[in-house]
Structures are given as C-alpha cells and as structure tokens.
C-alpha cells in the first residue's frame, strides 16, 4: 500500500533522504509559492456570487495546495539512497579458450575441460551460473583468451580453438583496458597450461597493490595420463656456420617406464641426432642433441619422441623450431708480450673453432709486432688500435703477458670504454709482465679487474699447480666440462697441472672467484663491468692441459672457448633484430624489435629503419619501424602473418651520414602443439597467481564461492566508498493524487457555489 502511494517502500524512505534536485535558488520558488497562494486568496476574496467566507477560504486553500504542489514538482524532489558501489564496480572474468581446454581428463566422464568451464560460467545441468551470481552484486565483463583476450558474449564463444595460451598477456591487456574503472576482482578460468608470454604471477603481485585480487579456477586433472611429450626446446636464436650447436629438449614420460629415443630431425625428416632415454626415466628429462648446420639461412628442425601403442595424445610428441645460421665469427683481439707457449696454445684452441676469429698482436724483438688473423678494417698492423671504431670491431680483448707501459693512456681508457659501454669482454692473463708486475696499478685495468693485486715486489711463481674450482666455479659456464656437477668436479680434480701463477691479494666484493691455484691464491675470477665483463686468469701455463691430456680430451679447448664466449656475451651489435617468438600461429601478431647503434656503438634515434618481410610464397612486404620514444635506439613494428610457413626478414637501418647496416632474422608460422605439452592442470601456478594477488584458488566444484568472496569485497569497499543514488519522487502516485484531489474538490465546491 505504502509503496503503491509513494513509489518506493518504507525501508528505502527510512534509509534514504528526501532532497530537491533543483533547489539551487529555493527562495524564488518559495516566493512563487507565496505569490500563487496570495493570488488564489485574492481571487477568492471578492467573488461575483456571494459565497460564504469559510467556503471562500477553503477554495483558496485547495487552489494553493494545487499550485504549491506543482511548484514543488518543479523543484524536482528525489529520494537520495546511500548504498555500496557494487552496481558501479566491475568484476572481470577471463575464460581460457585455448586448445588444451579441449582435453578430456580421466575421471571427468566424457566432459572436456571447456565444457566444465562453460557450465561453471554460464550454468547448466543443475549448476548455478557464476556470471549470474556475480551480476547480482556488480557489473561483470567477460573475456575469453588464447594468445589474446577478446570479449566473450556467451557459451557458444567458448570452443577451445585458441592455438596458444598467453595468460600473462590476457591478464595484462584486461588490466590495462580496465584502467580508470573500479575493478573489484579478476576471475580466471583456466587449466594453467600457459606456454607463451611473461610471468603471470608477477603481474598478479602488481594487481595486489592495485587492490584487485585474482580468483583462479583450475580445470583438468592433476594426475598425468600415460603419455610422452616434448615439452620445450632450448636452443640459441642464431648460430654460426659449421659450429656444433647444442639443442636441449625437455621431454616428459608419464606412465611409461621403457626406454625411448629422442630424435632431432631436419626438414626432410632425416634424423640428425638421436639420444636414448634409458628405461625407468619417468618424469621430465633434459636431453642434449647436437647439430652442425653447414649452410647459411634459416633451417627448420623437429624434436620428436615416437608415440607408444595406444598413446592417447600424440599431438605433443613433436615440437618444431628453427635455427638461423649466420656465417659470423666471434672476433677476439689478443695482445701478447712475447712469443710463448701460452700464446700458441690459446691461439690454436680458438683458431681451430670456426666460431671464433682470433686476431693477435705479438710483440717480438723486432720493431713491428707479428700480427695474425687481422682483417681489413681492424687496423692493427702497427699494434694495438688507437681508434674506438677499430677496437670496437672486436667482442673480447685478451691482454697476455704484457705490461701497461706498452699501451698509451688513451688506449687503456679505450679498453675500459670497450667493456663498459660496448659490452665487450676483457681478460688479463698471468705472466712476468702482467697484473701486479705489469704496472697496472692506478690504470683503468685495476678498476676493471675482479681481483686486487699484490705489489710489484711479489714475483711470478713458476711452479706447477692444480686448478681448484670453487663451488661457484663448478656451476659456472667457464668451467663447465660436464652437465653433471659431480662429474664436473671429478674432471677438474683429475685435470693435469698447469704452470705458473701471479700471486693475487684477493677478489673484489661483487666479483666471483671460480678457481684457486697454488696456496689458495685466486686463479680465475670474473665480474660484470658496465655493460661488459672482465676476468683474470692469473697464469701463463694453461697450455700444459692441452699437452698433458689425450687428444680426444679437449678440456683446454673447451675451457678457452667457454671463457671467451662468456666474456663476449654482452657485446652489442650495430644492428640487432629480434622477434618475440620463433614459431607463431596463424593470425598471431609478430612484434619486431630492432636496436640500432652507431659507429661507436652508441644508440641512434634518427635512423630510417625498414623491415622487408618475405612470406613463404615469396611475396615481400615492407614495414617501417618506429623509434620507441622511451627506449634509446630501439625501433619497433607489428604485423600479422597471413600464410603458414617460413618468413625471412631483412632489417635495414639507414643512418643520417649515409651509412647503412642490415641484419637478418626469421620466424615460422605453423600449427603448434605446445598446448599439449603439459597435460595436467598447473594448479601450482594458479595457486601462486591467486596467492600473489591476494585472491584464492578454486576447483570448479567450489567456483560458486567466488560470488561470496566478491560480495564480501564489495561490502568492505562500501565503507570506503559511498555511492549515492537519487530516485525521482515527482511521479509518485500520491503527488499526482494530491494535486488532482485538490483541483477536483475546488472545482466541485466552485460549481456548488455557483462560480464559473
């Protein structure tokens, strides 16, 4: 009854407050009411017919009520309600629509993961809809995601066809889209089989700071079915021609105990390498495969484990990748004080490997040095380079047994810039004229080196000693002689003696001691320096390793190659190009990034950078790369490939001085089976995401609880954030009734009184 008269129920009136929305100048309206009432009284004061005074007053009052009511309507009366902001806050729901969601797990009946997710989200078969439950409290935005998030309209949009999962990107894009809009929580429905993109749990940590917890609902069994799979392949993006490349395949065997082969195949299906995983190796195994590409270009390969009889999922038994082979060597500059065996054997170790270009300057008794391995443009025929552009052609510099006085101050400063700015590597060897005996005290080398030196009075000890690796050393790539750390320790324990050491005082804070020599003095120490790296190997007698071991044991060669590679790892290219993945699925955007550096390897922001992209059909399209304002020397573009197959890219940078540099890269577009690499639910990952964001992990059966959690969150937010809602009252039945009754009563009385 009350509600039918007053439009709203009593509790709303009890909680609310009646206000006038147009009450900015109420005095004028009050004046109008008074004027209206005055006029009514005036007109009824002298009527043409004699009307009793009491009736005249009644008529005036009735007309006054009508006029006042209408004026009040003009004031726009409202009922102001105060309630939680839920109606204006959002919960985002992200549903995984990738192919892994099409899997049917044992124990789930005939339902695929995606069907379970559909029921959880939209209801069905007696289950309540999570969407409806949430919409009862707040606004809900639905998304589905594979590699990219897209709006989700209804259950028909969820069909598990996304070729890849990028949970990180989906969460990030939705989070970015919701910026500025109050978001109460994010709900993610997935099996956690993410195989691309960044770390979602780190993003979840950031969302916690923003007050947006993530509720994860995990689909899929936690127990592995009987299956063999290639989970991941690790390999270098670009390799050098005729260099043996190590490809690491992560394979998993669940429920099978027998031995099985892991094969590396080329594009023609020929087996390039094969490794057998022994029987009893259930679980995840890392397998090393080798390939030596002998031609330049991009070569597709496949890592494969044969399917067992009756294996249900065979899509995950192979994984493809590409190797880009460049005819490029790692350039090393080695300066040596006089001919000695160490020089000969280091040169030999690096010269034999086509991965390296060793240029050396050897001082002899003659006025001019013996220069070996130089190329046009190196400009080292007369000695150590005097210009940055010549020194910066190299990626690592080795000072042998040579004193600081051989170099000018400018040359030593340039070597420091070579490491600090260019990202090159610097190594100083031991000897009677190096380190503390070479006058390096007070030079940039003293700053760069990872060790502190003794004074010049402490001489070179020409005695035999063993290399004793530290714990850090055994795990370091320079001393990596075996995959197995115990085996590595054994190899070094049995390694022959080397001869000679410069006693060093100690290792600088922040540097890493890899090995000690005689009397526990530091022998190998390394550290990062600026953009590059520096190392000290305080002996001139590592050649004894080569001479003392059988020819098939290449400890010496391996050590030197690893040392130089480690030194040069940070060296910058004038133009370096990267795509964010090796293999894309059709329609997936390719992000191309180029870093452009000038002659002295400083970032260049005004280059004209274009990418020429040749698709598998041989069509070429050009894309312009734009400078990313926030990143020095970095240019980017994005495009979507439209054909499956190999794409080759040539990126050209044109400099303002007319110079030009090019770089190549490639990628392929194909169907990916990575989605099936991990068959079990990644509950650990989902729990980590939920926990990092302050949210909670749910099973599908408990997903309905999310509504309660959201409700609780909204209530908590209510105390912090009040939302007011004004509801119109002018159209309440009572208002019109009062006016109508007043006018009707006035009219009847007027007629009875003989008034017009």
């Amino acid at each position: 009854m009350f509600e039918s008269l007053f439009k709203f129920g009593w509790p709303e009136f009890a909680d609310g407050q009646i206000r006038f929305a147009n009450a900015e100048r109420p005095e004028w309206l009050l004046l109008a009411i008074a004027a209206g009432a005055g006029l009514a009284w005036l007109f009824y004061r002298n009527t043409p017919q004699a009307v009793p005074k009491g009736r005249r007053n009644l008529l005036g009052v009735l007309r006054g009520i009508a006029i006042a009511s209408i004026v009040l309507f003009l004031l726009h009366p409202v009922l102001r309600l105060e309630h939680p902001s839920g109606r204006h806050r959002f919960v985002t729901v992200l549903a995984d629509d990738s192919r892994s969601m099409s899997m049917k797990d044992e124990g789930s009946g005939s339902q695929a993961r995606i069907e379970v997710a559909r029921q959880v989200l939209f209801g069905g078969e007696g289950k309540e809809s999570l969407r409806d439950g949430l919409e009862g409290h707040c606004a809900v935005k639905l998304f589905r995601f594979g590699s990219e998030p897209e709006p989700l309209e209804g259950p028909k949009d969820l069909n598990a066809r996304g070729p890849a999962t990028n949970l990180f990107r989906a969460m990030k894009r939705v989070r970015d889209e919701m910026k500025g809009i109050p978001q109460t929580a994010m709900v993610v429905l997935t099996d956690g089989a993410y195989n691309a993109g960044g770390a979602p749990h780190e993003l979840a940590r950031a969302m916690k700071l923003e007050g947006v917890p993530v509720f994860t609902v995990g689909f899929g069994s936690m127990l592995s079915p009987q299956d063999r799979a290639v989970i991941r392949v690790h390999k270098p993006r670009e390799v050098r021609q005729n260099t043996e490349v190590e490809v690491f395949a992560i394979v998993r065997a669940s429920g099978y105990e027998n031995a099985f082969p892991v094969r590396l195949k080329d594009k023609d299906g020929e087996i390039v390498d094969e490794v057998e995983v022994p029987a009893g190796h259930s679980g995840v195994t890392r397998v090393k495969l080798k390939v030596m590409p002998d031609r330049k270009g991009t070569h597709p390969f496949t890592v494969e484990v044969p399917a067992e009889d009756g294996e249900k999922i065979t899509d995950n038994n192979a994984m493809g990748f590409t190797l880009r082979v460049a005819d490029k060597r790692l350039p090393v500059l080695y300066v040596e004080g006089s001919p000695r065996e160490e020089y000969r054997f280091i040169r030999r170790a690096l010269y034999k490997d086509k991965d390296f270009r060793i240029a050396s300057i050897l001082r002899t008794g003659a006025k001019f040095p013996i220069v070996q391995g130089s190329e046009p443009g190196d400009d080292i025929d007369d000695g150590f380079p005097i210009k940055k552009e010549h020194l910066f052609r190299f990626e690592a510099v080795i000072f042998g047994d040579i004193e600081a006085g051989y170099f000018s101050k400018e040359q030593l400063d340039m070597v420091e810039a070579f490491v600090k700015e260019r990202g090159g590597g610097f190594l100083m060897l031991g000897g009677v004229n190096s380190l503390n005996l070479g006058g390096y005290q007070g030079t940039p080398m003293e700053r760069m080196m990872p060790v502190t030196m003794e004074g010049p009075e402490v001489g070179y000890e020409n005695k035999e000693m063993k290399l004793i690796p530290t714990k850090d050393g055994l795990a370091h790539p320079i001393l990596h002689q075996s995959e197995n750390i115990v085996e590595n320790a054994r190899i070094w324990g049995e390694a022959p003696v080397l001869i000679g050491i410069n006693p060093l005082r100690g290792v600088k804070p922040g540097a890493l001691l890899l090995a000690s020599g005689a009397a526990q003095r530091p022998l190998i120490a390394v550290q990062d320096y600026g953009a590059g790296r520096s190392a000290v190997f305080a002996t001139g007698g590592s050649w004894r390793w080569r001479m003392s071991l059988p020819i098939e044991q290449e400890l010496h060669e391996k050590f030197w190659k690893q040392l130089v590679r480690w030194l040069a790892v940070g060296s910058k290219e004038k133009i370096s190009v990267e795509v964010d993945k090796d293999i894309y699925v059709l329609g997936e955007p390719v992000e191309l990034t180029a870093t452009i550096l000038g002659k002295q390897l400083d970032p260049v922001n005004d280059a004209q950078v274009t990418a020429s992209v040749t698709d598998p059909l041989g069509n070429t399209r050009e894309y312009r790369l734009s400078w990313v304002l926030s990143r020095e020397g970095v240019y980017q573009t994005q495009f979507r490939p439209e054909e499956e197959g190999e794409y080759n890219l040539t990126v050209t940078a044109k400099f303002s001085d007319g110079g030009e540099e090019t770089a190549l890269t490639s990628f392929s577009v194909s169907e990916t089976f990575a989605e099936f690499a991990e068959l079990t639910q990644r509950a650990d990952l989902l729990q980590e995401i939920a926990s990092a964001s302050g949210g909670e992990y749910f099973t599908p059966a408990r997903a309905g609880t999310i509504v309660e959690r959201v409700e609780a969150l909204l209530k908590a937010q209510k105390s912090e954030e009040k939302i007011f809602e004004d509801k119109d009252l002018w159209d309440a039945p009572l208002c019109f009734g009062v006016v109508a009754l007043a006018l009707l009563a006035e009219w009847i009385i007027r007629r009875r009184s003989g008034l017009a």
Partner: protein, 281 residues
C-alpha cells in the same frame, strides 16, 4: 763428437758444457792466431755471428725485413722456451748419433735470446719418446743424427699423440759423410708411417716458416747433403706445420767450426724462424 755416457740429464749437461768450453777455447785460439777482427770478437765471446759477418757473400744469405730489425736484447721477455734434444735409437753405429754437436744447441739458444724477445732457457734438456709424461713439458723438441734410425712401436704411438696434442718436432739431417740423407729419409718415412693418410711434403718457398721473422726467399739454407728442401707435415684442418725436417745440416751450421760465418748466421736465423713459427702457430 759422441757423448757415449750421456744417459742421464746430469751427464748430458756436464758433457755438453765441457765440450762447448773446449770448442770455444780452440776456436778462440785459431782466430787469435789469425789476428783478424773476427777472431777477436770470437775470443771475447761477443756476437761471433753478428751482422757484419753475416753480410759476407753467401748465396742463401737471408735478408732481414726492414721493418723487422731486432731491437736491443733488452726487449721484454716472457714465458720460458726450452730447446730440448730428442733421444732415439740410431741404427747406424758409425756416424753421429742423436746427441751430436750439443754446442750447436747452446749457440742457437744464446742467439735466439739475442735476436728475439723469447725468454729462452739455457738449460740443456733431453727428452725420450718413451716417457710421455716428460715429453708434454716440452712441446718443442729437436732431433738430429747422421744415420738411419727407427722407433719402437710405443715411441711411434707417443710421437703421433705428441704431435696431435700440439707438440712440434724439428728434425735436421746431420748428413752422413757430407753427402748422405739417411736421417731425412727415415724421418719422412717414419712420419708417413704414423700419418699414412697425410704424408709429409715439401714446404713451399712462400710459406710463413721462411718469412715469419727473417726472410728466406729461397727456402731453408742448405749447408751440405742432398738438397730436398724443407719438408713438413701439415695439420689437416688448419694447415699448421706439425713437424718440420731439413736435409741440409742446419744444426752443424749453428756451430762455428764447419762452415763460413755467413752460413753459420743463416743457419741460426733459420733456426730462429722455425722456433718463432712454432710459437706462433
């Protein structure tokens, strides 16, 4: 001269030094009697084979590269280079054995240290192929004799391993009866036997071994014997010379008693080139 009882390093060292002093004394007396300036220099033991004498007429006299004139002997020296002699079984009982003319080694070591900045150990060292652990300390060894020789199977195996690891053997024929090439023939035969798929061959005249320090446009100086030229075993994947053999008795040229001073100087400089080549390749 044959040092018959030099079976141990100690004996070898003692006998070498004794022989060298005696020869220097004899040489000095002869030169002194001649009254020539050369003799005075020899008497004083100063640069017997120095540049002025090297300029005397000699067909194979090397010309120094202008830009590679040696600096003063004060040039900085690093590392330690040993010049050991290889002990092996010579079949011929007559003629010089593996340990012939040790004074030549002494002179070469001395001159090597004068002409380059190589830190040369003056210690006489003897190596045996049967003792691999000892061999690996001295990656460069020198072998010479006048006669035919052979190696037991174990030594052949060790020699192959030594060369493969990066060792270097310089062989020089001491020339039997001033005309022979017995050592050279057996050396080539032995190397070809242990590397059957990679036989030794004549080193071309424009090879670095002939110009890495001093210039020898006509190849290694030939002092006597059969002129086969210098032969080398080339490493398959790098082209590096793994072992080098000369038929022309360079070693006797290092001594000062058999040939002209110019020939002596040429032999010494070729020895320097071989060692510099070894240390840089």
């Amino acid at each position: 001269m044959v040092l018959e009882h030099a079976d141990t390093l100690k004996d070898w060292k003692r006998e070498v030094m004794r022989d060298f002093r005696r020869r220097l004394d004899q040489r000095s007396r002869r030169e002194f009697l001649r009254g020539g300036a050369t003799g005075v220099k020899a008497l004083l033991g100063l640069s017997l084979l120095a540049n002025p004498l090297g300029k005397l007429a000699f067909a194979d006299e090397p010309e120094k590269k202008d830009k590679k004139k040696p600096d003063s002997p004060k040039a900085v020296k690093t590392g330690t280079f040993y010049f050991p002699r290889l002990m092996f079984h010579v079949k011929d009982e007559t003629g010089d054995q593996w340990n012939t003319e040790p004074a030549g080694d002494v002179i070469l070591r001395k001159r090597l240290s004068e002409l380059t900045n190589i830190n040369v150990s003056q210690d006489p060292i003897v190596c045996k192929l049967s003792e691999m652990e000892d061999m690996v300390r001295y990656p460069f060894v020198f072998a010479t004799s006048e006669g035919y020789f052979d190696l037991p199977a174990k030594e052949e195996k060790n020699l192959k391993e030594f060369l493969m690891r990066g060792g270097f053997v310089f062989g020089d024929d001491c020339v039997y009866n001033k005309t022979g090439d017995r050592f050279f023939q057996d050396f080539v035969k032995m190397v070809n036997k242990i590397f059957p798929d990679n036989p030794m061959r004549k080193v071309p005249l424009d090879h670095e071994i002939y110009n890495c320090y001093f210039e020898f446009p006509k190849g290694a100086p030939h002092l006597q014997g059969v002129d086969h030229g210098g032969w080398g075993l080339f490493e398959k994947d790098t082209g590096r010379i793994m072992t080098y053999c000369t038929p022309g008795d360079l070693h006797c040229g290092w001594c000062s008693k058999y040939f002209s001073p110019a020939m002596n100087e040429a032999a010494i400089r070729m020895g320097v080139n071989i060692i510099v080549y070894y240390l840089t390749h």
